[in-house]
């Protein structure tokens, strides 16, 4: 938490509209870099879910992301040229903004390529979920990262601004996830999916973590520990039932694997700003040169949240 206080000095406000935040508003926090082409759909998606205000840290974009965001009426933007790695992959910045503006709000922390779905998300706005969580005095809500990918080479189909990325990345792995419990932080550690299968089959331990707790009724005493994978205090990580029942959960549809990925990977590799020596990006770079196809004949085509719930990737719990 002290880190967050220290790191806040790197953040410069570009457009601050936080005075417009009302006490009951649901807030979205994000860090991004050069995501201009993805932003219009991203904002549209979350506005339709019922997000009231966006608080975004721009990490030194040079593609106009910052300027475009600053024009949006429901967005507050900060910028920084400090190191992404130095801020523990953006989480120090997020923790600071959460502490400053998230207190007593429901807060959603996502990346620009992550799309939050929860039970009934096609018929009930996000406030229905947060109201329901409030009645049960639940403070946090899990949503596992579900990697989506296109059929065929990743860069084959270009992404147009404003397009739903799920039109391109439609496929996912339905049942190859492994879970273990982290007894120290009490969270579950989930790995698997196409990235483990394609890029980490020789090194499963280092495959990316997919467990996330992106939606939290924030309190200034809380902090994310490592990305949105786990939180402090530890009770916030107990989003699962360990006596056989199912708690309610959602998914973050991760539309990372769409064009232009190869260019992005090269840029990120050159910056060396990612987790664990960017090993994930090194693995991608090795494979991307061979135009890999993440799709296989057992891939599932994404339809809606009900499909994910039937497959057992998320659950309605006792919300009906």
């Amino acid at each position: 938490m002290l880190r967050a206080l220290r790191k806040r000095h790197g953040l410069h406000s570009v457009a601050r509209r936080t005075d417009a935040i009302k006490p009951s508003d649901i807030l979205l926090f994000a860090t991004l870099r050069n995501e201009r082409v993805r932003l219009p759909y991203f904002l549209r998606y979350y506005r339709e879910l019922g997000i009231n205000h966006f608080l975004i840290v721009d990490n030194d974009s040079d593609d106009g992301s910052r300027e475009w965001l600053a024009e949006q009426k429901d967005v507050s933007v900060w910028t920084t040229s400090a190191s992404y790695k130095g801020s523990r992959y953006g989480i120090d910045w997020m923790n600071w903004l959460l502490m400053r503006y998230g207190h007593k709000h429901w807060t959603l922390v996502v990346d620009p390529d992550e799309f939050f779905v929860y039970p009934f998300s096609d018929t009930r706005p996000i406030r229905a979920l947060t109201d329901w969580l409030d009645t049960y005095e639940m403070r946090s809500f899990p949503a596992m990262l579900l990697d989506l990918y296109p059929k065929g080479p990743i860069d084959a189909q270009p992404y147009r601004e404003g397009q739903n990325p799920l039109e391109i990345a439609q496929w996912f792995d339905s049942g190859n996830y492994t879970i273990s419990r982290n007894w120290y932080f009490n969270n579950l550690w989930i790995q698997g999916g196409p990235r483990a299968r394609m890029f980490f089959s020789d090194d499963p331990y280092n495959a990316p973590s997919l467990n996330k707790i992106p939606l939290v009724k924030w309190n200034r005493r809380y902090a994310y520990v490592s990305s949105t994978h786990m939180l402090l205090p530890r009770g916030l990580n107990m989003v699962y039932d360990d006596w056989g029942g199912e708690k309610v959960s959602g998914c973050l549809l991760h539309a990372k694997f769409i064009a232009p990925l190869t260019a992005k990977v090269e840029e990120e590799l050159a910056r060396q700003e990612h987790f664990a020596g960017s090993r994930e990006y090194i693995a991608y770079a090795e494979q991307l040169s061979t135009e890999p196809d993440l799709w296989c004949k057992w891939s599932e085509k994404y339809i809606n949240w009900r499909q994910l719930e039937i497959l057992g990737l998320m659950s309605k719990g006792n919300w009906a």
Binding site: P142, Y240, D242, M314
Partner: protein, 565 residues
């Protein structure tokens, strides 16, 4: 005769106003109680919004706290006002501000007019209720509860504990048999008036004001004293989940609510615009005779509670990760493990697939790769054949495989040559059917062209592994369906033994086996075992094989499968 509504409101007053207007404009008088904790501005806005309606009035305000007498006091005051001001009201309906009428007032009025003396109130003796939360049912009536359950839980619990220890019991007033039930009722004028004008009311009020959650028992118990015709059910559709919280209705429940034919539902999510718009627009009678039928909604909510408390068996996911032995199903479906069969029989996989009608895999836990059926490199759910990924969490590999292939029986081969990481899991899983031909692992060694020294070492290794595994399969913790034969026993009578295993896999198939798979050539196997013995190893798992190829049934018919009449 008509019906009048007493509404208890504390939040979402705009919605309450809409509902009050709906009832009032439908011709039913409404008395509204607003919690005194509601601030003046909100209250004034509320009263102003219904000020144009002559038959809407506000009753004396109480400060309401859950589980306390204040709720009953408020209901009494509202009911008294209703009876005093509206002499034509035949039934009084107690509703909350988050109730939504699903049918027009005329429907309800007609329904009640046809049952003028019936009191609709859920009223069950304490011995018969199964739904109380916190374990207090009878004790609600016999203990004191001076402390708030919501705000001072520890004190509340301790005081209850203390009274239990002192064997303290309050005296229940004569004539009262405690009953409990939903606090949303609809009583006839006669019954309600009798309760409110009872000469002993002070005694009863005094008693019930110290009962815990009296709004679930005051009217429920007293109705029994006066009513001639109690219909023990609530006309308000209201479902509670396992933690005692009411289920909420949303826009997507519209069709379900419409078809339920219930008169009133609660609780409605205040922002369910479509529900309010649709149901408050119905002004003309729909079908006055239709009986309320909430079965589908009951099922929906009981399934939700079931999912929350028991979950889906065999599922491991981000919000269901049970402790060991708390899984309520370690795997999601029955499956079969065959050990030694493919060593002993040629093309056992193909034969099994044909007769068991199941998906037959090779050695899923083979050291090199997971041998999926048909030699595929990837299987349902995008499980890959990578041994490293599998061994990273072999239990998850197995549970995923069974979960992904729900609806299709899974079978796989096993052997001491394979990864043994799942042995305990398999042995303790009631879904596992494990059939072992012990010692059959020696057959490939017998056929191998390796030097005898290597073979002997390998035989000793495999025998040790299989002995360990069999000791697990024979332990007292076993939940799997386990069958173990020695190799010698099995080949005595393979047909019958295979038949039992197959019958268990597909019990409905009446077809008898007409062929068993072809046994591999075992001539000289007895000598091979003797050689192992001569080298100082003790083969213990195969059973008795004579050194000369004696009465092995395989020899005579080796080139033809068995035919059974």
């Amino acid at each position: 005769m008509s019906v009048g509504f007493v509404m208890m409101c504390h939040t979402a007053l705009d919605r309450a106003a809409q509902v009050a207007r709906f009832w009032a404009e439908g011709g039913a008088p409404v008395v509204i109680h607003v919690d005194r904790r509601v601030d003046k501005l909100s209250f004034d806005t509320f009263t102003a919004s219904v000020s144009d309606l002559a038959n809407v009035s506000f009753s004396r305000r109480f400060k309401c706290e859950w589980g306390t007498w204040s709720l009953v006091a408020a209901a009494q005051a509202g009911a008294e006002q209703m009876l005093a001001r509206h002499g034509d009201v035949g039934h009084v309906f107690l509703a909350s501000g988050s109730c939504l009428p699903l049918r027009p007032v005329q429907d309800l009025a007609a329904y009640l007019a046809a049952r003028p003396t019936t009191d609709f109130i859920e009223s069950v003796t304490t011995a018969d209720v199964g739904w109380t939360i916190g374990g207090l049912d009878e004790e609600r009536f016999t203990l004191h509860f001076p402390f708030s359950w919501k705000r001072r839980r520890r004190l509340f619990d301790r005081y209850v504990e203390l009274q239990r220890r002192l064997k303290f019991r309050r005296k229940i007033p004569a004539g009262i048999l405690p009953h409990m039930g939903s606090q949303w009722w609809c009583l006839s004028r006669r019954t309600l008036a009798s309760i409110l004008q009872d000469p002993d009311r002070e005694v009863y009020d005094d008693y019930f004001s110290k009962v815990w959650i009296p709004d679930e028992s005051y009217f429920q118990s007293l109705t029994r004293l006066y009513s001639t015709n109690v219909e023990s059910r609530s006309l308000t559709l209201s479902k509670f989940d396992f933690q005692g919280k009411p289920h909420l209705f949303y826009d997507d429940h519209l069709q379900l609510l419409r078809r339920s034919n219930c008169f009133v539902a609660r609780k409605i999510w205040p922002r369910a615009d479509r529900l309010y718009a649709t149901f408050l627009a119905q002004r003309s009678p729909v079908d006055a005779k239709a009986e309320p039928d909430p079965v589908k909604i009951d099922r929906l909510f009981s399934k939700a509670v079931e999912r929350r408390t028991n979950g889906r068996p065999g599922l491991y996911m981000q919000s269901r990760f049970p402790h060991r032995d708390r899984e309520n199903g370690k795997t999601s479906a029955p499956y079969s493990v065959f050990q030694g069969f493919d060593d002993l029989f040629e093309n056992f996989d193909g034969w099994l697939a044909k007769y068991a009608g199941a998906r037959v895999h090779g050695h899923l836990f083979a050291p090199e790769r997971a041998e999926f059926s048909g030699g595929e490199s990837i299987f349902s759910g995008c499980l890959t054949d990578s041994a490293k990924l599998r061994d990273y969490n072999s239990q998850a590999f197995l549970t995923n495989l069974i979960w992904n292939a729900r609806g299709e029986r899974q079978c796989f081969q096993f052997s001491p040559r394979d990864s043994q990481a799942c042995n305990w899991f398999l042995a303790t899983d009631p879904n596992a059917q494990i059939s072992v031909i012990s010692g059959a692992w020696a057959v490939p060694l017998f056929h191998s062209s390796e030097s005898f020294a290597v073979t002997r070492r390998e035989a000793a290794r495999l025998q040790k592994i299989e002995l360990d595994q069999i000791s697990i399969l024979r332990s007292m913790y076993v939940k799997a369906r386990v069958r173990i034969w020695t190799m010698a026993d099995f080949i005595e009578n393979p047909m019958e033994l295979l038949q039992t295993v197959i019958d268990e896999i597909s019990p409905r198939s009446t077809r008898r086996l007409t062929e068993v798979p072809r046994l591999v050539d075992l001539s000289g196997f007895g000598q091979f075992l003797q050689n192992l013995k001569n080298q100082g190893m003790q083969p213990r798992l195969m059973g008795d094989f004579p050194v000369d190829d004696g009465p092995l049934p395989s020899n005579a018919q080796r080139d033809r499968p068995y035919i059974v009449r």
